[in-house]
Amino acid sequence: MKLYLKIWRQKDASSPGKIVDYTLDGVEGDMSFLEMLDILNEELVSKGEEPVEFDHDCREGICGTCSLQINGEPHGPDRLVTTCQLHMRKFNDGDTIVIEPFRATAFPVIKDLIVDRSAFERIQQAGGYISVNTSGNTVDANSIPINKHDADEAMDAATCIGCGACVAACKNASAMLFTSAKVSQFALLPQGRVEAVERVQNMVRQMDLEGFGNCTNTGACEVECPKGISLTNIARMNREYLSATLKG
């Protein structure tokens, strides 16, 4: 199929960017979206032009590295997939595809389609862990009984890959789905309760410091999340934070 691509090109963080038009022929339906960009880049390199920079790593939907706002939606029009899992069969011959970086003040553009998502790492570092000695003193995972419902919900929250689609989709560029998933995966388990009060306070404080927006419960993050992280996590974080602050 033949596609008309409109791609955000930006030399570096301090330069202004703009949309540049490309026409790409010979795209097959079974290619992934990233493979399509690989082909575009091969063409650009063969013509002596600079290739389009974009993030990618595992290319199987588990690392959270790929991003891209495709035709106005993070990870494109498909549901529960990352950009690397998006197939070109979702598009038609002659389509125009607008490709932009995830937009948020807290996610500054580094180059072209690559954004700096280290804000998420700083939120995680602020409390997304449990303090246990794992060297030579390992406790069997099943020594503390946990009911299946809680274990399942914690595991669901832990499937967040931190890709940033929630921020990209939210009209307010809010990071509450990500932060709440990281709060929830610990809050639901007895091992995580020990530091629960400090964790939620520190992670929310860091989230605010990074300059993300507020949650207005539109639910866009949940719809666009490639891992289907639920809005119930945001409610849990709101509850945990209120309870932690009243206690503290």
């Binding site: 409109k6 955000w8 949309i19 706002q69 035709n71 106005g72 939606e73 029009p77 607008v98 932009e100 937009r103 948020a104 003040t105 807290a106 989709a169 009209k171 307010n172 560029a173 809010s174 306070q201 929310v204 404080r205 989230m207 605010d208 300059g211 993300f212 927006g213 507020n214 949650c215 207005t216 419960n217 539109t218 639910g219 866009a220 719809v223 666009e224 809005l231 119930t232 945001i234 409610a235 849990r236 974080m237 709101n238 509850r239 945990e240 934070y241 209120l242 602050t245 009243l246």
Partner: protein
């Protein structure tokens, strides 16, 4: 506690709590207003009570005004923060793909309601204050029904009120239904609560609109 006051989550608690408070006020308001259609005598009695009871006048009314101001000021504060959080807009943003229009445009439905409140205050509250305190008229327990019906005589005012009630419905549709989520409640009762909130968002504005239209089409013949 200082962290709570500054945090983004606290601002959402404030929005949700002030919104829920205003929902309770709406129930009282629509109930008394419906009396103007079904029982003018009761409407006069209730309006006189609300207008002269010191507890209502000097405690509940100021609390209500503070509630309204807190709700819209915090709404503006959050909107400004949210705009700052995405300093460069998308060339293409398909908001309709993942969220309903009403949830993405609360600021606009809120602004219409705020403009309506200015008109509503001018129509009834300023009139009431002038009647009681500026002109120092004596108490009249039977004037309220006539005053209300006469307010809806002009077509333009009736239309403005009805349109505003439509926007109030849209605002409540998302705001009331998601208020408990902001307060941290999302459990087995949530679906039931959301259904109730959405019925409320339709029924209450419809009742207000019905009252305005009823008085417009049933004027008092002198």
């Amino acid at each position: 506690m200082s962290g709570l006051i500054k945090s983004s989550l606290a601002r959402k608690y404030v929005m949700a709590l002030s919104g829920l408070f205003l929902v309770i006020f709406l129930i009282l308001h629509v109930t008394i207003n419906l009396a103007s259609v079904f029982s003018p005598d009761f409407f006069n009695e209730a309006s006189h009570f609300m207008g002269y009871n010191p507890l209502v006048q000097f405690l509940m009314q100021p609390i209500l005004i503070v509630g309204v101001i807190v709700h819209f000021v915090m709404g503006f504060v959050l909107e400004i923060q949210n705009k700052k959080a995405r300093s460069i807009s998308y060339v293409k943003y398909k908001g309709s793909a993942n969220a309903p229009w009403v949830s993405r445009n609360m600021i606009y439905s809120g602004l219409v309601i705020l403009a309506f409140l200015a008109l509503h205050f001018y129509d009834f509250w300023v009139h009431e204050i002038t009647y009681k305190y500026v002109e120092a008229n004596p108490e009249n327990t039977t004037r309220y029904y006539f005053e209300t019906v006469e307010k809806f005589a002009p077509f333009w005012r009736t239309v403005l009120y009805v349109v505003s009630f439509g926007l109030l419905g849209l605002h409540l549709w998302h705001g009331f239904a998601s208020s408990l989520q902001s307060m941290g409640a999302n459990n087995k009762y949530t679906i039931g609560f959301k259904k109730f909130a959405k019925i409320f968002a339709v029924v209450v504005p419809l009742a207000f609109a019905f009252i305005a239209l009823y008085h417009h089409f049933n004027p008092i013949i002198h």
